[in-house]
Symmetry: C2
Amino acid sequence: MNDADDDIPSATRSEPGEVGLVEPRDFITTEPFTFDNGQTTPGFTLRYETYGRPNAARDNAILIFHALSGDHHCAGIHSLNDRKPGWWNNLIGPGKAVDTNKFFVLCSNVIGGCQGSSGPSSIDPRTGKPYGITFPSVTIRDMVRTQKLWLDSIGITSIYAAIGGSMGGMQVLQWSIEYPSFVKRALAMATTAREGAQAIAFNEVGRQAILQDPEWNHGYYPKSGGPRVGLAIARMMAHITYLSDASMDRKFGRKAVAAHRKPSPASDVSELSMEGIDPVAPAATFDVRFEVESYLRYQGQSFINRFDANSYLYITRALDQFDLAATHGSLEAAFAEVQAATLVIGFTSDWLFPPDQNRDIALALLRAGKRVSYAELSTDLGHDSFLLESPQLYDLVRGFLN
Amino acid sequence: MNDADDDIPSATRSEPGEVGLVEPRDFITTEPFTFDNGQTTPGFTLRYETYGRPNAARDNAILIFHALSGDHHCAGIHSLNDRKPGWWNNLIGPGKAVDTNKFFVLCSNVIGGCQGSSGPSSIDPRTGKPYGITFPSVTIRDMVRTQKLWLDSIGITSIYAAIGGSMGGMQVLQWSIEYPSFVKRALAMATTAREGAQAIAFNEVGRQAILQDPEWNHGYYPKSGGPRVGLAIARMMAHITYLSDASMDRKFGRKAVAAHRKPSPASDVSELSMEGIDPVAPAATFDVRFEVESYLRYQGQSFINRFDANSYLYITRALDQFDLAATHGSLEAAFAEVQAATLVIGFTSDWLFPPDQNRDIALALLRAGKRVSYAELSTDLGHDSFLLESPQLYDLVRGFLN
């Protein structure tokens, strides 16, 4: 496609192997949309990004789906000053596993989210005020149905591949079920067709941390404020479930905070490196003592600056309520109409959506007589393995797409 | 010992197999006690219970140690109206694995606790006000040294066996190290000689939930109030780590709340049993939806009525700081002076203090040339397995004691 390069505005000309500068766009519809719970909004917005170009046949579209705390910005940078590219930039780009020289890659922020798509923090045109918790409750199927309206609006009539991990994998499965003739290939990783009790339990504790924060105020709070403490607690806890015991031990072990860490006035103990000695604090200080503590506190603090607490409540509910087997009678019945060739990838150290929950998806597709493969990648990096550098994962994705 | 039965006040006469009515007692000393961090209190109180009787030789004492949220009441009942006996009543009693017909069983509430022993919620005699976070920070070794003063005061000069699980197991190990000639047998289960990063991480999130609760107020709050929300969140999360994915799935799975559950005015969805259908809520309700949610909420609520938030901060810090290898140079060096015969028991599904951390203790004792056995019980009940009905566990304990 080199001959087409002259058409690219120089601002978006890619570095070799990099998507380069990208700009989010909005799909805005004023057609009323009725959610699974029966409530209607006067239209909605989905914010999205695209990388690469549609081919003449318009049959090279790859749809990417983000996880709970992700967004539409999965590759490239928004400014030359950006310190971090999109969240799946290691997978998506010219010559990468998802090759933007070949494919037209699209990713949108989910409905109910807070990164530009309509959600609780959006303005309700009927009132001129934020929806707050009057926004309809959202399901994975709502996410998928709004994405379909967006693709229709830009003339995408089939998907070469749908790719996602975790909640993104749920959307992949829902797409295959909802629009069977539309999806040619489905790649779901580190996901589940129904969460177990433990995953629901962790989400519930996170929701309670938000709901019980007085600043939540029944869902009505200023954009600048809100239940920041509750949201940070929810994120700290959830973040532990994205990693693994082994990876945390390797990364942090029992390392004490380093001397450069700023102490609180209450204590100078956090100044001392206590590696290899028994850390004993004076009374009245619960300052950060171990590296893993300061890492988690940072995770919690950075999250509250980019995520809306109500969206966290809505999306975790969507995760917990997703249950293809219960909705369709059985997982096999859920997949009865699927036409896509499917690849399911589980990760051995994923204890949030464990390998056997991924394997169950593949086995049900097999029983339903569908084309499916299952791969289990041996890693000790936990649930987030699907987001991390992995030549094996790249090879699996490349092989599945070509 | 039947001939001695006439000495028992009828109020404490045991039901067959049951310890029966018991009364807590207090060990109170006004001798200044210096904690590991160098701070001193003008004496302290340990609340304790005993079951069975010391024999003539006074060599039949068994010391029981409780875990983070436990207390001195490990067997029997306080009133004929009690609906629940002590927390280890299934293990301790006449004819049980820890046979109170043979042994004089003692258990105290740890220093820093809130069930009658001195801790942050106790009154500082120097000020007439609660210590709050001016109470010295507490270590496992502080717990053990205060217990030794208590045993000295009642004329116990040797321990037939020290028995504990989780934090109780840490105290067992610390006793063997601190008072080698005193401890004849040591039985530590579901424990660790040093927590991994994940266990520290979960404790830190719990502490943050408390510290960030405005009601914590830098540790100064009325007994009736305080950071109840933060403490409930901490407990809900921690409780998940005491169970296992498998046991939660068996106990709750994805069962929706039953119809008898009281709804919130905001919603009647929680009234409906949604088992087998896709639960979809109207907007604005985050009412309990799954049984596992209402179970966790109950765990959180009941905990705040019996536990002090500052004690939770102090004791989780003691757990995180416990590190025998770092304190003594190596685990093997830590055990150099141990004289007790030791039994370590790990549980296969314990992911908080996993079997390999228990095995490491036994291996280090072996390398140090000590008498030690290691048993790994196959269970899918998680960390709390040591507290639950288990004929295999009873046989191991009985065999070790006889």
